[in-house]
Amino acid sequence: MSKLGTLGARLHRGEIGYDFVGKRMIWYAVSILITITAIVGLAVRGLNMGIEFQGGAVFTTERTSVSVSQAETYAEEASGHDAIVQKLGNGGLRIQVAGVDTGKSDQIKEDLAKNLKVDAEKINADLVGPSWGDQVADKAWQGLAIFMVLVVIYLAIAFEWRMAAAALVALIHDITITVGVYALVGFEVTPGTVIGLLTILGYSLYDTVVVFDSLKEQTKDITKQTRWTYSEIADRSINGTLVRSINTTVVALLPVAGLLFIGGGVLGAGMLNDISLSLFVGLAAGAYSSIFIATPLVADFKEREPQMKALRKRVLAKRAAAAAKGESQEAPVVEQTYDDEDPEDATPAVVGPRAQRAQPSSRGRGRGRPSGKRR
């Protein structure tokens, strides 16, 4: 604990840190690879759409001694369609029959009840017409599209359009990965899955927004100093909020894990399981993307701005000049370890004081942080 606290402090001070922005290309590549895998998986294997999307019936019985294969035979006899039977955690059976008309299901239910020797009144039936699933899915896509438009508008106002664009990319990234995992692993897609997926929307952005908020605060007067480039400050923002991001993600995942444990382990299958599974995958992807994708993307976008280009030039020039003069004063801890993972910036970083002494730097710091906060 104390170590964690110290780690937090060191991250906060920038004594240590991972060069997220500098190494962004690696992570972009990783993400693109995952995304391609997901898309290929989706194209080749497709999604295992549940009964709710094809139309059919799901019957759930209470505890019964009838074996799975026997129940399968019964169900197929009764319905004339293929049936999938699962044993549930409580000893009951879950019988799925695809392609059954909602009108015919009562008959099937009666037959099943007779064969399985359980009371027909004690069988749960979930009957879905083929168009219902489509409607649920259509509405979900519609909701997704509307949400994306609104959130981009909101983020563009609250922050700026570059951040909004980066957040959107991260969001699409998360959803693609989640869908891809479903395609590759072959989990069944149900309305519960869709619910989980849609929840990721808000949640994946939660972490991203926390990092962006810190980034916005720290780059307020960026052009008034020549000490850091935008990318470097972005990096500090990520590192500074890293503990927070980890904590929020862990805390968000814990209840979902509880759901998954109960939903998957005790009930066997059903809505709880479906929601929590897609949430779990999506949350993990969301935490990853807000750190490794969203913020580096913002830095990339920002560095293309003429202002930021000029700033970068100034910063690099200053560092180069300092290097040329060969001043090798003792660098403050603050800077020393900070850039050492980025070979390009390593040399200038050592001679930090040279850059630090520059007038605009101190002025910028003074204004940007009325608090006298160091960064």
């Binding site: 649920v136 909701g143 519960g192 619910i195 805390v251 209840p255 809505m271 160091r374």
Partner: protein, 589 residues
């Protein structure tokens, strides 16, 4: 330093008062919950057991844009009548999305019958009344035959409703046309049933249901008579069965309720006009005549001709055979008498309607003309046992999730976690109370996805505290003491919390508005808990933090407070570095 100072005065000023305020609010809400008697949230079908049917509206061929709010609302009204007419208690019918109707039938009722009812398309017919009388019920409550003496009145209890006498008139003619209907009761035979020796129908309004068929050569008619005689409309099951499965072209028996709320039974002739012949119907207030609220009907071209035909015939008859019954799903919803042939393609039904009555009738008439058909999109039957099991599983999952979060917070934040746990508890209590109260007020029902939403919300709520705590720790790492650290951390944490909660809320709101089915319940809980999160953080967590920051335990950074500067890595070297770097600046500048 002006801005933070302002914030300090504003937020630190009266933390105790804010705390007291929210505690009073919670007590008031809880008190309201107990006062209202709804101490648990209403459970959805998937948790309580029962049947939930989703019906999807479709345009009938050739009709576009028929799925609109008016039509859907009319359909819901009708479904409600049908389901609740079955004796299903507390069945609820509501629209969802723009083209779905959800029918929720609680456990313990005959869901199969209910399904049949809502699954079939409503049938509206105009049938001539052959005979009618009060059925069952309290004889003392028989209507007084108020109309028997007046020429315009109709002596049969079918049309004579004491306070209201309905009649259909051509909209062109003045509504108060006194038809010279003689009160020669007992005159038999209508055109419709010419072939059959009909009963000597027409009963007196004095409540003696004595009308027996005079003769019956035709076995079908005899059967009808027998059915009629046996029919007791005061019994629900009998009502539901009456006229079940009868074709439009056959005569039938039916029940209806008159203005006194008494059940009345009828023998009705074959349907002459169908619901689809009505183009539209609306309730209007008659400003010229003194008729008050009335219902006007426009017929389609074909329907107008048919209607002219039937009214022409009926107008010549004696009561009650000058009446036609508007039959919806086998139940007589209105039985106006006809005073003359109505040829204009329009008609109005007047009587002493209240606004509500006239609108209901207009709705029902419109429904027959609704160019919508409904198909069962999904039917979910959940036994009470499984519902209970799912609820239990959800609660256990929630408890596990909560325990894990608390454990993590305690390990990581130590003393600070007390504040987080207290806030989580406040949040949980408020969520529970508000959910309980929303049951009776807006019909909110807690279903499984909603339980999931609440569990997921534990994480979202706890995240807000983490954002706040991490900010405070950052400030302490800057070398501040506890109290200024809290006050400086708050404005920044506040902004972050607001922005991220707004995004969460936006997602929930969009989902709630756009989606259908179970997604909606989930979105609702998520949105509610997000709002409550903001309330709790602002009015509970922050003031509590401010108060506790004054306590020695936190202010001095006790090693178990979670704010121990040493543990947070505030080390002398930090101060040295800062001091060193400052002179460097001035020296070289």
């Amino acid at each position: 330093m002006a801005a933070p100072k302002k914030g300090r005065q504003g937020t630190q000023g009266r933390p105790g008062r804010t705390l007291a305020l929210i505690l009073i609010a919670i007590v008031a809400l809880t008190g309201g919950m107990f006062a209202s008697g709804h101490t648990t949230p209403r459970l959805g079908i998937d948790l309580a057991g029962g049947t939930s049917i989703t019906l999807q509206a479709r345009n009938e061929p050739g009709q576009k844009n028929a799925i609109n709010k008016t039509n859907m609302d009319t359909a819901v009204d009708i479904m409600n009548r049908r389901v609740n007419g079955l004796g299903v208690s507390e069945a609820e019918v509501q629209t969802q999305g723009d083209s779905n109707i959800i029918v929720n039938i609680p456990k313990g009722t005959n869901s199969k019958q209910a399904r049949e009812q809502v699954g079939t398309t409503a049938k509206l017919y105009f049938r001539p009344v052959l005979t009618t009388e009060v059925s069952g019920g309290d004889p003392a409550a028989t209507p007084s035959p108020s109309g028997s003496g007046t020429p315009s009145g109709s002596p049969s209890p079918g049309s004579d409703k004491g306070k209201e006498s309905e009649k259909a008139t051509s909209s062109a003619s003045p509504s108060a046309t006194p038809s010279a209907t003689a009160t020669s009761q007992g005159r038999a035979v209508t055109d419709a049933l010419k072939a059959d020796p009909t009963p000597s129908a027409g009963t007196s309004g004095k409540g003696n249901p004595s009308a027996e068929p005079s003769a019956s050569a035709d076995p079908a008619t005899a059967k009808l008579q027998a059915e009629y005689a046996a029919l007791d409309c005061s019994k629900r099951t009998a009502r539901a069965k009456a006229g079940d499965g009868v074709k439009a072209a056959d005569p039938t028996v039916a029940c209806g309720q008159n203005a006194q709320g008494q059940w009345q039974k009828y023998i009705l002739g074959p349907a002459e006009v169908e619901g689809t012949d009505v183009d539209k119907a609306s309730a209007v207030f008659d400003t010229q005549g003194a008729a008050g609220w009335k219902v006007t009907m426009d017929f389609t071209g074909k329907g107008g001709k048919k209607f002219a035909g039937i009214t022409g015939k009926l107008a010549q008859n004696q009561s009650p055979q000058n009446q036609f019954a508007i039959v919806l799903d086998g139940e007589v919803v209105s039985d106006p008498y006809v005073s003359q042939a109505l040829t204009g393609g329009t008609a109005e039904i007047s009587g002493s309607f209240t606004q509500q009555e006239s609108q209901d009738l207009a709705n029902m008439l419109s429904y027959g003309a609704l160019p919508l058909t409904f198909t069962e999109a999904s039917v979910t039957t959940v036994t009470a046992a499984l519902g209970g099991e799912q609820l239990e599983a959800g609660l256990i999952a929630g408890a596990i999730g909560l325990a894990l979060v608390v454990l993590y917070l305690v390990i990581y934040y130590r003393g600070l976690s007390l504040i987080a746990i207290a806030s989580l508890l406040v949040s949980a209590v408020m969520t529970y109370v508000i959910m309980s109260l929303l049951g009776p007020t807006i019909g909110f029902a807690l279903n499984l996805p909603a339980v999931c939403g609440a569990i997921v919300a534990i994480g979202i709520t706890a995240d807000s505290f983490i954002v706040f705590f991490e900010r405070i720790r950052d400030e302490i790492r800057e070398g501040r003491s506890m109290r200024p650290a809290v006050e400086r951390a708050w404005p920044r944490a506040r902004r972050t919390i607001l922005v991220s909660d707004f995004v969460s809320f936006l997602a929930a709101a969009v989902l709630f508005v756009v989606t259908v089915g179970k997604v909606q319940g989930f979105a609702f809980t998520l949105g509610l808990t997000t709002l409550l999160d903001v309330v709790v953080v602002f009015f509970f967590t922050k003031p509590l933090m401010t108060i506790l920051a004054r306590k020695k335990f936190f202010a001095e950074g006790h090693s178990w407070s979670g704010l121990d500067p040493k543990r947070l890595g505030v080390q002398p070297p930090l101060r040295r570095t800062r001091r060193v770097s400052a002179p460097v600046d001035t020296k070289e500048a």
